[in-house]
Structure formats: structure tokens, C-alpha cells
Symmetry: C2
Subunit: 450 residues, 2 copies
């Protein structure tokens, strides 16, 4: 009976704290104002760029002003690729004359140079079709990868996952058969004129060729024009530059644990973004939500027993160097017995209404977190299931740390991801703050109950 | 064992059908194109207006083209209030000069006439404060109701419910103390310049006075100016007109049941909207989703055992005459033994990602629907709970019919509701279609399993 009462009291206190976290989050505009500054005053911030430096300095100062127990920078060496001038793509058909296409270079692509390149186009839907065509039909041409993302899955990351191979490995595959460039349908379910960039990879064994993304509307048009005129010519001009690697940083801040200062609950998002938008949902929202978690703990006077550590990762988009650097250091410190991570939480799925958490952990760890369901359900956090987490915290996996992702309503995410349309106005204040509060509530529960 | 197998097979078939419904909905742009036409070519459509006539004719023709078993109009007599010219509101302070305010007349309000009216302003937060001020301090003045909606509830309809009394009954209450007009803070959680209209009610016992809504930014400004200058003057001009009642219609279409044609599953949204926006989320999305349900049944060749009846209600916003007319006729036909409703489903909470159904039904009926949870959960329909349904289907309550509302993510709904910002571009294709599919899936399950 006594045990039952104490348990009941515990649940009750937890539920009061969580309610306070949500109320404070929904009443305070600070995170939203931070996001406005990040998007409108810094903007797109690819690693190595001056804007990436700016976001490091800005978040460091912002965090120092909040007076956590410590704020520091972790050095990270990053690649520095630059898009160059606005890209040009133009189709010339014998019948219908010329048409411009909305394209953008893919990350890490070489440029065509100012002269550009012009060639015939061969359309494929996947690497098998490319292979079937073979060198005979591909050599000297531009390969057009035009497999649409599948609209049927309810969770849109599934659709993205099924289409993104064209972007990531299209140039490498096409170059193998002698293609001179690739143009890739954007991995989005939206039908519009925005090309979506993202990283692509070359293989050491084949010559790198220029790679661009085309908007979904543009891809549909190009496919139609090709049907009418298989000999049409596509002109592409990109002026990308690969600079020397640059020194950058993860930004880290902590509230030290009152009882277990060497046991760490880490959480964060990534500072960098693609260059062509404002990086609002990817991952400006994750950055300001993570900072908001610290603010919520401070302003509500929640003193954690374990150290809660905010990590704002540099370079999620290009080569994940920030996540690797953090993971390596965590392994080193763990090996020396200096600290131990008890959980890691990443927010990098857009600032939309959260639906729960995806958990990469042992069955026992998962079950423990699922026991808190009744505390989280009143806030719409209905899905607490085994699944993938996020790329920036993967470095902690060898340490057996439960890796957790904040899961949000995914319907609009790929409308904006990596495109010029990923801007501040696409973020709703309440949706953003429900995510901040969900993160803070989970961190509170882990701290109290782990 | 045999029984178990058949049950298993049944679940499996249901889950395949539901998957087909969702795939068809997510692949077909028809509902979205319908919404574009409704918003961009018809636009705001208050009952009694020419646009309300247009939407009746347009939906009738659209439905006839889909060749269900029957399409017909049910006559409904509606009030016909007209806003008149764009409203003016201007504050004159002794210190800071003049300021314009973003206002709009509330539905059913009398106008000030072209001359307008000018008076001092007294600010209150609720009817108790108004009463405390009394006739002495209110007579001859404009009462400014400025209680903000509470941002703390997670489900925003709760916030709205806690603030909307000012809009609905403010003029009646203020007039009782001799006020000459009221200006009411918009019942939204957004901070912007859009005034939100909506119905307000006069009492027979007091003289009607003009009532306007002011944007939340405008309300904050007015409150600030009042603090600096309690004697400031507010000028308001509205030119609303109350016309004679008009004949309008509910639009009804059916697929007749193959086994129980006299047992009806009804579903729908409302045709009318407020005049100042496009009525996109309120309730254009409900209209096109309901039409889409019929299309999904037709295109997938789903032949229901019971009659499924689409009802597009006229006049949800003003006096709910369409819902009343439908309910009265249902009662009459039920009394005559001509037909029996087995369920009614309303979609009028915006075209956002659906989270489940709110069910006003007996415990037994509720439990039956909750048994389908595992079939609906893969589609994000996690909340199937007892709760309110919708106003248009209330007329069926005396018949003991389970009344069901499609519940959607509520965070953005009141940003747009009843405002000029409720436009087509605020609707996401996939979110809209997840709602269409959720409705169709539930109707399929009710038809199969009731």
C-alpha cells in the first residue's frame, strides 16, 4: 500500500512537471525569435561557409547568456564545398525550341565550369535500367534519373529513403558507363519548381562528373520533352568549387548533474544546413528546440541529477564530421572512466507537431521508456517505438547508449528539405514548441527514472 | 481454430482494403484540384450569398458526374447577412495621434452606417469585469473585450472554447450596460494582423449594437494605447445589411446499400464558409474530403452493404439551418420506418493530419469502434475516444446515432479559422488526403462490421 502511494505520488509529480514544461514552452516566444534570427539573419550555413562560422559564434554567445554551468566549442575539421553562381540548365529541342529547367548542383559535385556542357539525355528510373542501357547508350550523354518518390507510405521518410539513392550515387553509377553528367529528380513528394540539393558521393574508381537536381515539375517536363524528341540537348552550367578543409566546431553546453555529474544525457540538433534555403526545418528548428530545452530547465528551476548536455553538431549534411568528433571523444572519455552517456536524443525531423520518439536501444531500455507512455500521451506523444534515431548521435552506438529521435508529423518535411523553400515562414510556433517541450519532458523523465 | 482463421482472414482483408484506400487517396490529386477550384474560383461563401448558391450548384454537378446512385438537393431556408464595405476602425489619442486597426464585423452584427460611430473605450477581460464596471462606466462607450485565448492547452479547440464567449455574447452583454458598440479580440492563438469573424448573438431584451473583431496584434496595440490614454477615441464604421431569408440547399448523394439500403451511414462537411477568406480549412477541406470518400468507394469498386450518404450541409456558420433540416427529416423518416441511421461522421476541424476520431456514442458503440484500433493505428489514427462530434450532425443525436468527428492536428487551425488567411495555400495535399482516407476507412469498417 505504501509503495503504491509513493509510486502514485511520483507519477503525479512527474505529470505536474511535464505540464509546467509544456505551459512554459507554449507561453514563451524565445525559441521562435531565435529561429527567426537564425533563418533571417544568418540563413543557409553549409559547413565551411562564413554563415557556419556565424552560427557557431551566435549560438555560443546565446548559450553563454543563459548561464548554464559550462559552454565550450569542440573543434571539428570540415570539408568546404561551395556552390558558386546560380546554376543554369536549358533544354534545346528541334521541335519546341528552348526551355529553362530549375536545377541546383548536388553537394560535393564538381562544376561544369563557366563554359558549361551540352549533351543528349538518356532517362532511367534506377541503376538496373542504367546497367541495361550500358556504355553504348550512355557514353557521352547526360543521365536523367527520374524515379519519383513513392507517395503511398504514410511516414514520408520511407518515400525519401526509397528515392534518395539516385541523388547519392547517381553520378558515380552513371560515370561508370561514360556519362558526362547527371540530372536527378528531387527526392520530394511535392509537385513544384524547387530543386532539392543534398550530398552525393563520388567513387575513387571513376571520373567525377557534374551532378544536379531538378525540381519535380522540371523532371516531369524533361521527361515529356524527351518522349517528343529523344535527341534533345541539355545544357548545364555549374561553377562549384571544393576549397581546402576548414576548422569549425560543435557547440556544447551543460547543466551539471547534482548527483551524477559524470553521467550524461546528451541532446541536440545540427548547426549546419544546405546553402540554398534558410535551413529552417533542417535543422534550425532542432537547434532552437535544443537550446530551448536548456532554457526550460533553467527557467523552471529544474536541477537535473545527471548532467544534461546540449550538443549542437557541425556538419550533419556534408560528411557528419561533428557527430564523428563527438562520438570519438565520448569513446575516449568513456574508456578513461571520465564519463558515461546514459541517453542521447536528436531532433532533426523538422519542427512539426511531434508524435513521439523512435528508439534505437536494447529491449530492456526500450521497455523502460515505454513505461512512461501514460505521462506522454496527454501531449500527443503516442508513438514510442523501436526504430532509427539520427546520424549525429550514431557515434555513441558502440557505447550501448540508447539513441532516441524526436519523431514529428512528416507530411510536409520533404516539401522543404534541402530546398530554397525551407524558410522561417514554414514553421509554426506551437508545433515548434511542442517539440521543445517533448524533448525536455523526456530528458526530465530519463533524469528522474533511469 | 476455424473461427480463429476466419477472423484472421477478415482482419487481413480489412487491412488490405484500408491500404488500398490510402494508396488511392495519396496518388490521386482530384480532391486537391477540387479544393483549388472551390477556394480560388468560388471563394468565401456565406449562406445566402451568390457564392453559396454557386457551391451548391458546383458540388451537385460534380457529384452527378461521379454517378453515384442518387444526387439531390434538400431545401434549407437560411438567413442572409452581408458584411458590406470593408470596415474601418481608427483610434485617436491626444498624445500619439491616429492609428488604424485591423477589424471586421462579426456575423449578424448591425452596421454603424456610413457615418460610423466614435466613442471612448473601456477594456475588460470577461463578463464579470464588465458587470463590476456597471452602467456608470460603460454607458455611451465601446466595450473592448480583450481576453486572450489560453496557449496552454495542447488541443487548441479548448483554447478557442475558453475565449469565444466574448465574440458570441459580448455585444449582448455590453449593450445591457449601455455600451454603443463592442470590439472583441480575435479568438486565435496567432499573433498577427488578421481579424477573425464568426457568429455573434443579440438578445431580444437589449438593443443591438455594432460588434467587430480586432486582430490580436491590434488588440495588443489598443490595450497599450488605452494604458497611455484612457480617454482615447475609437471610430468604427461598418455597413452590414440583414437581407430577407433566402432559399438554399443541402447537397446529398448516396451509394445505395446492397444489403441494407434503408440503413444509412452519413458523412459530410459544410458548404458555407465565412466571407472574408476562401473557407479553405473551414470547411472546404471537409467538403472535398467527403466527396473524395464517394470517389474512393467508386474507384476501388467498394460496394457498401448499407447506404453511404454524403451530406454537404448549408449554413454551419450562421444558424446551422442545414443540420437542423437534415436532422428533422431524418427524425421524420425514422418515425415512419423508412430509414435508420447507423452512424454519422463529420469532418470540420481543418484539413490537417488526422489523429483519430472523437465519438459521441454509448459505451457499447464506442467500444465497438475502438476494437478497430489496430487497423487504424498504422495510419496514425491513434486517438479513438469519447468526445464531442460536430454541429451539423447534432440533429441525429435524439435518434441514438453514434456521432463521430474526424480529429486532426489542431495547432494551425485557429491561425486561419474565420479569417482572410484561410486560403488554399494553407492546405497540404497529403494532410488533406490522409483525412479523406481516414473517413473512407472508418466508413468501410462500419459498413463491414456494424
Amino acid at each position: 500500500m505504501l509503495f503504491f502511494s509513493i509510486e502514485g505520488l511520483g507519477q503525479n509529480t512527474d505529470s505536474l512537471i511535464i505540464r509546467k514544461i509544456y505551459t512554459e514552452a507554449l507561453l514563451s516566444p524565445i525559441a521562435y525569435h531565435n529561429l527567426a534570427f537564425l533563418c533571417n539573419n544568418i540563413g543557409g550555413r553549409l559547413c565551411g561557409s562564413p554563415q557556419a562560422d556565424q552560427v557557431v559564434q551566435w549560438t555560443r554567445h546565446l548559450l553563454e547568456g543563459m548561464k548554464p554551468d559550462t559552454v565550450f566549442l569542440q573543434p571539428v575539421t570540415v570539408e568546404h564545398w561551395e556552390r558558386g553562381a546560380k546554376e543554369t540548365a536549358r533544354v534545346t529541342t528541334t521541335a519546341a525550341g528552348g526551355h529553362n529547367l530549375d536545377v541546383c548542383a548536388l553537394g560535393s559535385s564538381i562544376g561544369t565550369g563557366m563554359a558549361g556542357l551540352k549533351a543528349e539525355v538518356v532517362e532511367v528510373r534506377n541503376f538496373s535500367e542504367l546497367k541495361l542501357l550500358g556504355k553504348d547508350k550512355v557514353e557521352g550523354k547526360i543521365v536523367f534519373f527520374n524515379r519519383a518518390a513513392d507517395p503511398a507510405p504514410i511516414y514520408t521518410f520511407e518515400a525519401y529513403g526509397g528515392a534518395v539513392d539516385q541523388r547519392a550515387y547517381g553520378a558515380m553509377q552513371a560515370a561508370h558507363f561514360g556519362a558526362v553528367a547527371v540530372i536527378v529528380r528531387s527526392a520530394t513528394l511535392a509537385h513544384d519548381d524547387f530543386p532539392h540539393t543534398g550530398i552525393q558521393h563520388y567513387a575513387d574508381s571513376v571520373k567525377p562528373v557534374p551532378a544536379v537536381a531538378v525540381s519535380t515539375n522540371g523532371a516531369d517536363s524533361l521527361s515529356r520533352w524527351l518522349k517528343a524528341d529523344s535527341r534533345l540537348k541539355l545544357f548545364i552550367r555549374t561553377t562549384c568549387i571544393q576549397h581546402s578543409p576548414a576548422l569549425s566546431h560543435n557547440v556544447i553546453a551543460e547543466i551539471r548533474g547534482s548527483e551524477y555529474p559524470n553521467e550524461i544525457i546528451t541532446f541536440g540538433g545540427h548547426l549546419d544546413s544546405w546553402d540554398i534555403g534558410q535551413g529552417a526545418h533542417d535543422d534550425g528548428t532542432g537547434v532552437v528546440q535544443s537550446i530551448e530545452v536548456l532554457r526550460l530547465f533553467k527557467s523552471l528551476g529544474l536541477r537535473p541529477k545527471h548532467t544534461i548536455r546540449l550538443v549542437l553538431f557541425m556538419d550533419e549534411e556534408y560528411a557528419q564530421r561533428g557527430g564523428k568528433a563527438y562520438g570519438d571523444e565520448a569513446k575516449r572519455r568513456s574508456g578513461l572512466g571520465l564519463e558515461k552517456h546514459i541517453a542521447a536524443i536528436e531532433t532533426d525531423r523538422g519542427g512539426f507537431t511531434p508524435s513521439g520518439f523512435s528508439i534505437d536501444a536494447s529491449a530492456i531500455q526500450l521497455k523502460k521508456i515505454q513505461e512512461w507512455k501514460t505521462l506522454l500521451l496527454p501531449y500527443g506523444l503516442w508513438s514510442i517505438e523501436k526504430g532509427g534515431s539520427g546520424v549525429d548521435i550514431q557515434g555513441l552506438k558502440p557505447l550501448g547508449v540508447p539513441l532516441i529521435a524526436l519523431v514529428t508529423d512528416s507530411q510536409r518535411y520533404f516539401d522543404y528539405q534541402h530546398a530554397a523553400s525551407d524558410t522561417f515562414d514554414k514553421v509554426n510556433f506551437r508545433e515548434l514548441q511542442l517539440g521543445s517541450a517533448a524533448m525536455a519532458a523526456l530528458i526530465w523523465l530519463i533524469d528522474e527514472k533511469w
